[in-house]
Symmetry: C2
């Protein structure tokens, strides 16, 4: 008998019929003698609908109230799934974040899990109850409802698996696992059998939407094996796990892209210390994450400062950046939404030189101009014109021997 | 400066535009220097949508999980309305039932409010915050989400007004107040200026859908004046308040009807003590309210036992009744959904004889057969064939001098 955590995403619970299908898998796992905690997302489309309502009420919705609104999507799924299991004669019980409780910090819309009280859930498991937990949400120390950001249900599942020392954390989704790149863009993308936490972190942060990045951080920190697999079949998926020798042999394990970023350039910035910090501090005070940052070498005591944020944060970021720009007497602030980030990731890069050169040459020989570059130990990302995204992905997939 | 409780129903908050309209009234009240607690329902249609989902998952949905699902409707409204007020620069804060907390008993889907902790709300009011509370919901002593039954938001509003000793409780709806009868059925129905708690209790329980009955019970118990008025205009509505001399002068103050009941008849019941109790106990154990009850005089040691329940409870009531019928060896159980209840209500009945005779004669002379009769000190109800409902209402409205 094992303790299993299963997480079902929005597509898997997108209709009442699909929920009934999910219930079959839950029952199969439970009937095999396992203790079972199920973490669910909102029915697909629901969160978007709720976000649209919020945007109708306010251009930049208040974070606390935004969380109150969007947290209802997961709540509905927990109730529906539990009542179905009960109607079939199984013991089941829904939990909202505040009922577990899943304690988070107070950062509305992007809260971080701080602790999980396992007492109530343990008691239910002991009594043979299937526990259905609302993903994506928690409660802060002031008693406010918080949400964990888009895809946060993955993090909920991994955090619960960590807190209860589950034997396995299965993340069910509408794809068969983690691929070398997006199969919609490149037909010859292959499913990976396993991938290290670090590679998955880079892939997740780069826009491979299979797992939320926080969930992989959690899994790495607490050593939780994540099995990413499809809710539509019985195929083995991809295991996200500790790094091993075998993984290091692969130079580039995946190509990721992200069309969800926008570029902001502050032009004609006085080239003196502290200016970059001033802009970035103002953004981080507003809880906006900046991804890539480039500052050109200055001339005439002036420099340009460029960075990227998510498209969702663009409007607010521009407000803030314009304010700081006036303050520091920069000449101009311009933004561009028509960009995308394309990246290659692989543990093998650590010990191989020349990967970047090979990447840049491949892009150049296909007429793709690189606007910004960012690198880490195991990944290289470039910002390019959005319209070249698919081409770049295919070129890189082929260049690094992934047969696209 | 007064403490005002305002409750807005589903139609008043049915779209984001309507919510913005409601916000205007809230702001007007707040800017006039009042402390303000706003109780809101789910956006119109939302609760029905959630109930439909629940019914797709289970024929008789588990009560606890049903409440988890339907409570989300009000939660969404609180968040949306609060974020809008905040976007206009006002201090506002949403509260779910469990956050107040509004403590109820553990009866899922029809919970009763036991107590309200006013500490957090008081602190917010003191800080100048407009408090937005989700109607219809609470939390039981086990930490489960509970709901108060259809129309429960009225009860939430009155209970909060009572707990915080508000100066007035305004119930905003899509009609101008309480009418002598349904204006859709009888064009000459008049708006009442005021109506006593007892009359309103009878009217509410008889299907005049303006106020939930529990809310009037609460108002009577704690002496809360309820101002029922329209959210679409500035007209004075109807004050539901203590009885006064003037009210007693009116023989019949209103005609109500209810098409929402169904009749169950247990035929050929052995005529011995305890049979009626056996049936009714089984139903009340399942938390089903029985309204009218008639037991015919027996013949051949047999009797018929007839009662009404809401149409929503009919399916479950029949299951239970059939079981008991087998046990007590009754001959047959039959049910009829095509009935309606028509009633006249008035404090004046207490001191005037002959009201019933006048009512029955009026119906008879219009060819309307009476199937069941039930009376109280201030009302007379009859069950008739559903198709005669409107005719009966018009006849009675005219008979008792309400000029229809």
């Amino acid at each position: 008998m094992a303790l299993v955590v299963q997480k079902y995403g929005g597509t898997s619970v997108g209709t009442t019929d699909r929920m009934k299908n999910v219930a079959k898998r839950i029952i199969k796992t439970y009937d095999a003698g396992n203790d079972l905690i199920v973490v669910v997302s909102a029915m697909s489309g629901e969160t978007n609908k709720l976000v649209a309502l919020a945007n109708e009420m306010s251009e930049i919705p208040d974070g606390r109230e935004y969380d109150v609104v969007v947290a209802t999507g997961e709540q509905v799924t927990t109730g529906l799934l539990s009542m179905y299991l009960k109607s079939l004669g199984y013991k089941a019980k829904s939990y909202q974040g505040w009922q577990v409780p899943i304690i988070t910090d107070g950062t509305a819309t992007k809260a971080r899990i701080e602790s999980i009280d396992d007492a109530r859930i343990r008691a239910d498991l002991k009594a043979g109850t299937i526990v259905i937990v609302a993903g994506f949400q928690g409660i802060d120390s002031e008693g406010n409802i918080t949400t964990l950001g888009r895809g946060g249900s993955d993090t909920s599942a991994v955090a619960i698996a960590a807190a209860l020392k589950a034997d396995v954390c299965e993340i069910y989704t509408d794809v068969d696992g983690v691929y070398t790149t997006d199969p919609n863009v490149c037909k010859e993308a292959r499913k990976m059998e396993k991938v290290s936490y670090d590679e998955m972190l880079e892939l997740a942060s780069l826009g491979a939407k299979v797992l939320q990045i926080r969930s992989v951080e959690f899994a790495k920190k607490y050593n939780v094996d994540i099995h990413v697999r499809s809710s539509l079949n019985e195929n083995t998926g991809t295991m996200v796990t500790r790094e091993d020798k075998e993984m290091e042999g692969i130079l580039v394990s995946g190509v990721a892209y992200d069309k969800n970023e926008a570029k902001i350039a502050v032009m004609g910035v006085p080239d003196k210390p502290g200016i970059a910090a001033k802009i970035l501090t103002a953004l981080s005070d507003a809880n906006i994450s900046v991804d890539m940052i480039v500052q050109n070498v200055g001339h005439d005591s002036m420099t340009d400062f460029t960075f990227t944020v998510t498209k969702a944060d663009l409007k607010q970021s521009l407000l803030i950046t314009n304010e700081v720009a006036r303050e520091i007497q920069a000449k101009q602030v311009v933004s561009d939404e028509n960009i995308s980030k394309v990246s290659i990731v692989g543990l093998g890069m650590r010990s191989h030189a020349g990967v970047a050169t090979k990447m840049f040459s491949a892009l150049a020989s296909n007429g793709i101009n690189i606007q910004m570059i960012s690198t880490s130990e195991i990944k290289i990302s470039v910002i390019i014109d959005e319209k070249y995204t698919e081409l770049a992905v295919r070129v890189l997939h082929e260049t690094f021997g992934m047969q696209c």
